[in-house]
């Protein structure tokens, strides 16, 4: 989802900076235990040259932090695919691996593609017929919904999806479901069980065609990241959808972007602002056969599907967790964080405080300004010290 909260972002970034300096302090104690004969001399310098040493002191921590984030940062790691671990390195594994490649690409893939295309043709024909022939709206919606569920099952089959659902199955009673986001196939996997209405980014190509022609039937809501005026419109449509009777339950991916299924970025609060119970869904993919993370900057969705369709299987666990309600004196940001923690614990993800939108836009500079103010204070006080030694 798109809606950002300034204070939430600031909090997140502050939290992170405090964490890094904490970690540095902790590991720094190791470095401090090294023999440090210059320590006393340093105190002399601070007395003799207060401004100079204050300047150096104030400089060294941000400089080290900066270098540390160039070497490794907790944001980029959220969007890194699993590195390949080759296992075909000896004389009897290598032929086996070759057989596997031939079976997967030469045998499984054509069969899967064929049945996917067949299923698609069947689906499109019956969907068009249902769309035009049935005049009773509720009946038509019901049939269209079940056709979409069928189509998603065909998709799941095309990668031999082995999906284990845990917990109570979703029903029409609940209105808002939230899940962690790894790939667009999250949507397909969940839709193969139940016709959720999804809030999703508007795509181009054949995915866009599906969105505009088919998915409108189950009340999906689209947004465009590049269009900021879109936010208010989408927020209004979400509210309308939730309060309309007979609408499909809404499925929201509050991270707003695909994460590698090892980390969990900040949950946007919009889903938690609706004054209805929120049902968390945790999705965990097994990476033994294929990494289900869709790195949308590196590969198209078609290539992603090809990768999935040429693997042995896509194995996933889906947990439907207990519905959560906002507490009396809880802000929607805290509520979002609470649900995020629940999902992250269940799916064994590491929570990072970053906003996934930083993939697309630069962060707000509040924390930097705070550090700058602190440094300015340090310099001013050291100047004072020098003026009256």
């Amino acid at each position: 989802m798109l809606f950002t909260s300034k204070s939430q972002q600031e909090l997140a970034a502050l939290h992170l900076l405090e964490r890094t300096s904490e970690e540095r302090a902790r590991s720094g104690s190791g470095a401090a235990s090294l023999p440090n004969p210059k320590k006393r001399e340093g105190m002399d310098v601070a007395a003799k040259a207060p401004v100079l040493s204050a300047f150096m002191q104030g400089l060294i921590n941000p400089l080290s932090d900066g270098a540390a984030s160039v070497v490794d940062d907790s944001f980029s790691c959220c969007f890194q695919s699993q590195p390949y671990e080759p296992w075909n390195w000896n004389f009897y594994l290598f032929p086996l691996w070759c057989v596997g490649v031939v079976v997967r690409h030469g045998f499984l893939f054509p069969i899967r593609l064929l049945s996917l295309l067949l299923g698609m043709v069947l689906f499109i024909v019956s969907f068009t017929v249902a769309n035009n022939a049935i005049s009773d709206v509720t009946k038509r919606k019901r049939i269209e919904s079940s056709l979409i569920v069928f189509m998603c099952n065909v998709f799941v089959w095309s990668w031999t999806g082995v999906v284990r659902f845990h917990g109570p199955q979703p029903s029409r009673g609940a209105k808002v479901f939230v899940a962690n986001h790894t790939s667009m196939i999250d949507f397909i996997v969940l839709e193969s069980l139940f016709p959720f209405a999804v809030i999703m980014q508007k795509h181009g190509g054949w995915v866009g065609w599906f969105q505009t022609r088919i998915l409108n039937a189950i009340g999906c809501i689209y947004f465009d990241r590049t269009d900021s005026s879109d936010r208010a419109v989408v927020a209004k449509r979400i509210k309308e959808h939730v309060h309309a009777s007979g609408s499909n339950p809404l499925l929201i991916f509050p991270e707003g972007t695909c994460v590698n299924n090892e980390h969990c970025v900040m949950f946007k609060r919009s889903a938690f602002d609706l004054d209805v119970p929120v049902c968390p869904i945790a999705i965990k993919y097994n990476k033994t056969f294929v990494d289900a993370f869709w790195n949308s900057k590196r590969e198209s969705f078609t290539m992603h599907l090809y990768k999935l369709m040429t693997s042995w299987a896509v194995v996933a666990d889906v947990w439907f967790l207990e519905p959560m309600e906002k507490l009396q004196d809880e802000s929607s940001i805290d509520f979002a964080a609470r649900v995020q923690k629940m999902i992250a614990e269940r799916a064994n993800l590491r929570v990072v405080p970053w906003d996934g939108m930083y993939k697309y836009v630069a962060p707000k500079p509040e924390t930097r300004e705070r550090r700058r103010r602190a440094f300015a204070e340090l310099m001013k006080s050291s100047l004072q010290k020098e003026k009256k030694p």
Partner: protein, 198 residues
């Protein structure tokens, strides 16, 4: 599930070359993991880093010194990247760290940290929170103190050199040996944990 993507890894001779280039500070495991990082930072696979790619990392963007850091890293290839990181390795000598600090602070590249260099860094470090005229005061005070530090070494008998300060003559710039004295023990805080590939 694939054949090892050997083209993406460094050869032993390349590792050795980088190892030598950074004064044997980084281990092969560190170089390997830094190479992974370098490739992920160099998104368009040009072979060198671009400042605009670094600023995309939120943690870098929020750092007060991000601008200078990006200027230094802009256009550097893998060897130069490792050379910079090596200065932050716990294995780097204090000498090397002083050298790095001097390079970092010496914006105009004349070998010493002069008034303009200090003001430039102060602007980045303090943003708008220090007044323009105060910037000059701070820079001058630092250079006066630097002068006392450099002479203070010789006048070992007078322990209260600070008292003579207000009339002191400022240095034209802070050179490496004065920087060493000014930073002294704080240099131990200038380090970064470098991940190892194995």
């Amino acid at each position: 599930m694939g054949i090892s993507q050997s083209t993406l890894n460094l050869t032993q001779s390349e590792v050795d070359e980088v190892h030598k280039y950074c004064d044997s500070i980084l281990t092969a495991g560190e170089i390997e993991s830094l190479y992974r990082r370098f490739r992920s930072l160099d998104k368009s696979h040009k072979g060198f880093l671009g400042a605009e790619e670094l600023v995309r990392i939120p943690e870098v963007a929020l750092n007060p010194l991000s601008h200078r850091l990006c200027v230094i890293l802009d256009g550097s290839n893998f060897k130069e990247f490792c050379d910079l990181v090596a200065s932050f390795s716990p294995a780097a000598s204090p000498q090397r760290r002083y050298m790095f600090l001097l390079q970092f602070l010496d914006i105009d590249g004349d070998g010493v940290i002069g008034v303009s260099d200090i003001i430039h860094v102060l602007r980045q470090m303090a943003g708008t929170y220090l007044d323009e005229n105060l910037l000059e005061d701070v820079a001058n005070a630092m250079l006066v103190e630097a002068a006392s530090l450099s002479s203070g070494g010789k006048q070992t008998s007078s322990g209260n050199a600070a008292k003579e300060l207000p009339g002191g003559v400022p240095l034209a710039g802070i050179s490496l040996d004065i920087l060493e004295k000014a930073v002294s023990s704080a240099v131990h805080d200038l380090w970064v944990e470098i991940p190892r590939a194995w």
